[in-house]
């Protein structure tokens, strides 16, 4: 497992609504302080496994498993792919506790820690993608696609975790509403293909801010 040395603060500030604006020194020093605290408790853990797949017109089957991904969007996403990486990762329980504590004693810090840890889990995801790239240098990769995007039901969260034995191996669970716990966690599918993949834009749906984005609410785009 790898250790996170620093958190992408620029990304965290973007989640906080700072487009190209730069926060004042007071905020920046709180951000630095929160980063330090988070780095002390973040224990990035991840798992992934690679499966051969059969892409049908309405679903994708992961061979030799019981998992079937249904929906036209995932079919579209994995078209021309022969394999899929099923991955999951978490920053572990300590982050939840810090955010819980700050929600009582200092809400501004709670919000900042929340954004920083969202940025941190993205970094863990990026690291996994890189590792896969090194393992399969000759394969093209799709971007990360998660349950809940498009018409891929979020209800399969539990099946994804079971498939990877995520609870046993990294302590990652989901609840009855398919919310991942600890909260700063991700599951995703990355398609692997021998042929070049049409670069589909990552777009807003795969962004952490999906739903809460101030830019989107104003009908604008953050530019990323």
């Amino acid at each position: 497992m790898f250790k996170l040395e620093s958190i992408n603060k620029k990304e965290a500030l973007r989640y906080l609504g700072y487009g190209n604006s730069i926060p004042d020194n007071k905020i920046l020093s709180i951000v630095d302080d929160c980063e330090k605290q988070l780095l002390n408790v973040i224990q990035p853990k991840f798992l992934y496994n690679i499966f051969n797949i059969t892409v049908n017109s309405d679903c994708v089957k992961l061979n030799d498993t019981t998992l079937i991904l249904r929906g036209k969007d995932i079919v579209n996403h994995l078209e021309n792919c022969s394999m899929v990486v099923v991955m999951c990762c978490t920053l572990s329980f300590g982050v939840d506790r810090i955010i819980r504590q700050y929600q009582i004693s200092d809400m501004a810090r709670a919000v900042i820690c929340d954004s920083l840890s969202s940025a941190a889990i993205e970094q863990v995801c990026d690291y996994i993608e890189q590792e896969i790239k090194q393992k399969y240098p000759n394969m093209y990769q799709t971007f990360r696609y998660s349950a809940g995007y498009g018409d891929l039901s979020i209800d399969i969260q539990k099946n994804i975790l079971d498939l990877l034995q995520a609870q046993k191996k990294i302590g990652l669970c989901t609840n009855e509403s398919s919310i991942l716990t600890p909260k700063k966690s991700v599951t995703a599918f990355i398609g692997l293909s021998q042929t070049q993949i049409k670069q589909k834009s990552r777009g807003c749906q795969s962004c952490n801010l999906n739903g809460t984005c101030k830019f989107r609410k104003r009908g604008e785009h953050c530019g990323i």
Binding site: L16, G17, Y18, S21, P23, D24, K26, I27, I30, L62, D64, T65, T66, L67, S92, F93, G94, D96, R97, I99, R100, Q101, Q103, I104, S105, D106, M107, A108, A110, V111, I112, D114, G148, I154, D155, K158, N159, D162, L163, Q167, K168, K169, I170, G171, C173, T174, N175, E176, S177, S178, I179, T181, P182, K183, N210, G211, T212, K214, K217
Partner: protein, 788 residues
């Protein structure tokens, strides 16, 4: 044969190896439910059991690990069906042998509150169902556990519904912690307290990596130690485990001096591993660990050994505190949590929790408080109540080994409190008083202490878990009693060998300069050998006295802690803020200066009407900030920082009003709740801060809130505005259900909803009155609803 006989009759007890590994070898698909095979292919399971029995297993685990209601949601079989089939397969396999059958139970697969949304009681029910279904087994095994709280619910379910012996093994990382941060010491203290029969580790690591964890276990327990290690570590690509049966057995053998008693294999092990293990250990003897039991308390992540002066924070107690009482009446749990966080920052090692107040449901409040406090701070708790049923509930929902405050030498108290202390394995404070009151003479107090000790020991409470309070008398009323208390304290330590505790602050009641008297009394008591002091840790002179005492008595070696604390301690934050020239509320709010805001407010209160401060200064300042936020000139963190300042101003105002017995400044009561099954509450909490800033009284029901609780609270407090939050598409359903129930009960209130995935249309569709796009809008809505 029974488990206990088995332990006596053999040097080592052999368990089986992996079930999952064998099933995969036999071609089971990943992602399928292994327990279904108990019914769909019993022969396959029986064959595997037989192989382990032939390899020398004295106990086999039935194939029931994941057979719980939650994991089987998609299965056509129920937990009970799969468990009874599992046990019966194991019985068939064991026919003709002496092999015992264990009902094998793993984690539910969902995290408990507060990180997850499963409650302690729900977890208990799930385990209860499993335990009852498997009552024909010879013992119960809880394994691969990572959450001590979940495991506690499981052990209670087993203890309260069967008489079977219980083995618990948790899964640790190399750091010596589980995924939820549970330490070895916390595991042993808590579970041994609950009265299980054997304890240890399984899974996650190979025997070499587990050595240090087993070593740590052996320092803490006298129970038989269980090790079920993996066959080394898996190759990340092939998932094949990397050590041979011989290497495995040799590594396990190294743990024999640590007190290893019960041994088997986990992932990657096969019958060959077990037979090799049996052979390798055949000439070795079991060595029972010889440990000296310590007085220690713990949460699941923090163990506090009472081997030096420890501070118990006294602030969570409504006695004589008006704001605290108000908070209890309003069920304002955050008030209590703030007290908890502050005291831990002040230096408390343990927190006393007392929520007793006439007119409230103390039992319910205690449960809420214990659950909430252990979710935000990790110090152990001291559960404080005069009512045994309140103590029992607190003990049940506490995650770790707490202190019970208290029992006394009266028969009635001994009879009602001590059995609870025994059942839950807690420490207990014994007060040296009885029907006749507090004896004057030290000798007589020691007699009462002895009486309590003897009674506790006679029902199986270890002597180390008894802490005696010789009782501080008020110096102004009973001056000659002060030294008697200290004398008694010393005698209790020397003659009975028990730990001691004193509530310190009582000494100075009725005297001027109480802090000085408290401080000196504490120092005196420390030199008489006081172990635990119940004080206000936020008072520097008190915690400082303990620090200095530790230094002077050579406990704090090389003065390391003392120097680290005082060199790094900032005492002048207030002064720097005070130097700011722009000494007005708007400036303080705009710049996030909390201390300054509070100070200016208390200055203003001397000359200005409360309502004028609120309406003419605070709210315009907030409006200005809100406007800048809407225009994108400032961002969320600044908005909240400013809100934090306003909040501290309001606190000053509240204190003043409360001291004058004036009515509050509430502009209206609002309920806020993150709906059932949703655990993302940060958005709701932002809304709360902002609404409170504008003078609204927010009843915060927290997250994962039952529909009915929202309805009941709205009716009980006659609330006119209810705010509901949901982050996920999957929890919008709960939002809709909550609204339906409010309407069905004809609750006369408006409903506003918000959250990431909501849209104005959807809000309308599910019957909400308002869609609140952000915290600022919620204020506009509140203004409209309350007309202010």
């Amino acid at each position: 044969m029974e488990f206990k006989e088995l332990l006596k009759s053999k040097e080592f007890v052999f368990l089986d190896g992996a079930m999952g590994t064998m099933l995969q070898k036999a071609g089971m698909k990943s992602g399928s439910i292994p327990e279904e095979l108990n019914i769909t292919n019993p022969e396959m399971i029986i064959q595997i059991h037989r192989k382990y029995i032939n390899a020398g297993s004295d106990i086999i685990y039935a194939n029931t690990f994941g057979a719980n209601r939650y994991k089987l949601e998609e299965s056509q079989y129920s937990a009970s069906e799969l468990i009874s089939a599992g046990i019966s397969n194991a019985r068939k396999a064991a026919f003709g042998s002496n092999t015992l059958i264990a009902l094998d139970i793993g984690p539910i697969g969902q995290l408990l509150e507060p990180t997850g949304s499963l409650s302690f009681d729900e977890a208990y029910d799930i385990y209860k169902e499993q335990v009852i279904a498997g009552k024909n087994a010879d013992l119960v095994v809880f394994e691969t556990m990572t959450d001590l709280y979940e495991l506690k619910s499981a052990v209670l379910a087993a203890k309260e519904n069967t008489d079977l012996p219980i083995i618990c093994t948790m899964t640790f990382e190399e750091s010596g912690r589980t995924f939820t941060g549970c330490s070895v010491s916390a595991m042993v203290l808590t579970l041994e307290g609950l009265g299980i029969d054997a304890i240890g580790v399984n899974c996650s690591l190979g025997p070499d990596e587990l050595y240090s964890i087993v070593e740590e276990i052996s320092k803490w327990t006298s129970l038989p130690i269980v090790v079920k290690a993996n066959a080394g570590l898996p190759d990340p690509n092939s998932n094949i485990y990397n050590i041979t049966p011989v290497a495995f057995a040799e590594s396990i053998k190294k743990m024999q001096p640590l007190g290893l008693k019960i041994v088997g294999g986990c992932c990657g092990t096969t019958p060959k591993f077990i037979s090799t293990l049996v052979e390798t250990l055949s000439y070795d003897k079991y060595i029972k660990p010889n440990i000296k039991k310590l007085t220690a308390v713990c949460s699941s992540t923090n163990t506090c050994i009472i081997n030096r002066p420890r501070i118990i924070g006294e602030r969570i107690n409504p006695t004589g505190k008006k704001l605290f009482k108000e908070a209890l009446l309003k069920e304002d749990i955050n008030y209590i949590l703030n007290q908890a966080i502050e005291q831990v920052r002040g230096g408390a090692d343990i927190l006393d929790v007392n929520v007793g107040l006439p007119g409230i449901d103390e039992r319910n409040m205690m449960i809420k408080a214990v659950k909430a406090i252990q979710g935000v701070v990790d110090v152990p708790l001291q559960l404080d109540s005069t009512i045994p049923s309140v103590l029992e509930s607190a003990l049940r929902y506490y995650n770790g080994l707490p202190i019970v405050n208290s029992v006394n030498a009266e028969e009635e108290s001994l009879e009602s409190v001590l059995p609870l202390v025994k059942k839950y394995g807690a420490c207990v404070i014994g007060l040296t008083l009885d029907k006749k009151g507090i004896p004057h003479r030290a000798e007589d107090r020691v007699k009462l202490a002895e009486k309590i000790m003897k009674r506790a020991v006679s029902i199986g409470i270890p002597k180390e878990n008894i802490i005696i309070d010789c009782l501080t008398l008020t110096a102004s009323a009973e001056q000659e009693g002060v030294m008697e208390t200290l004398k008694a304290l010393k005698m209790v330590k020397e003659e009975l060998g028990l730990k001691t505790v004193l509530g310190v602050s009582n000494i100075s009641f009725g005297l001027p300069n109480r802090e000085l008297v408290n401080h000196i009394f504490l120092t005196m008591a420390l030199s008489y050998g006081l172990d635990l002091m119940i004080i206000n840790p936020n008072i520097e002179a008190m915690t400082g006295a303990v620090k200095a005492f530790n230094l002077l008595s050579n406990i704090d070696k090389n003065s390391t802690e003392y120097i680290a604390y005082y060199n790094g301690h900032k005492t002048d934050i207030k002064q720097t803020e005070n130097l700011d020239k722009n000494d007005n509320l708007l400036y303080a709010i705009e710049n996030g200066l909390k201390e300054q805001g509070a100070r200016i407010t208390s200055e203003l209160l001397k000359t200005t009407e409360v309502m004028s401060i609120i309406n003419d200064m605070l709210i315009p300042a907030l409006d200005k900030i809100g406007e800048q936020y809407e225009k994108g000139k400032i961002f969320l963190p600044q908005l909240i920082l400013s809100a934090g300042v306003a909040q501290s101003c309001f606190e000053v105002i509240k204190k003043k009003l409360s001291s004058e017995n004036t009515q509050g400044v509430s502009k209206g009561k609002i309920i806020l709740a993150t709906v059932k099954n949703d655990v993302h509450d940060i958005g709701k909490n932002i809304v709360k801060v902002i609404l409170e800033n504008y003078g609204y009284d927010v009843i915060d029901l927290g997250k994962n809130v039952d529909y009915q609780v929202v309805v009941d609270t709205a009716i009980k407090h006659n609330v006119k505005l209810v705010g509901l939050s949901a982050l996920m598409t999957t929890t919008l359903v709960s939002m809709e259900e909550t609204i339906k129930l409010l309407r069905a009960n004809n609750v006369d209130c408006k409903i506003m909803v918000g959250g990431a995935v909501l849209t104005p249309d959807y809000a309308k569709k599910i019957g909400a009155d308002y869609y609140s796009k952000d915290a600022k809008v919620s204020v506009d809505i509140a203004r409209e609803v309350f007309g202010n």
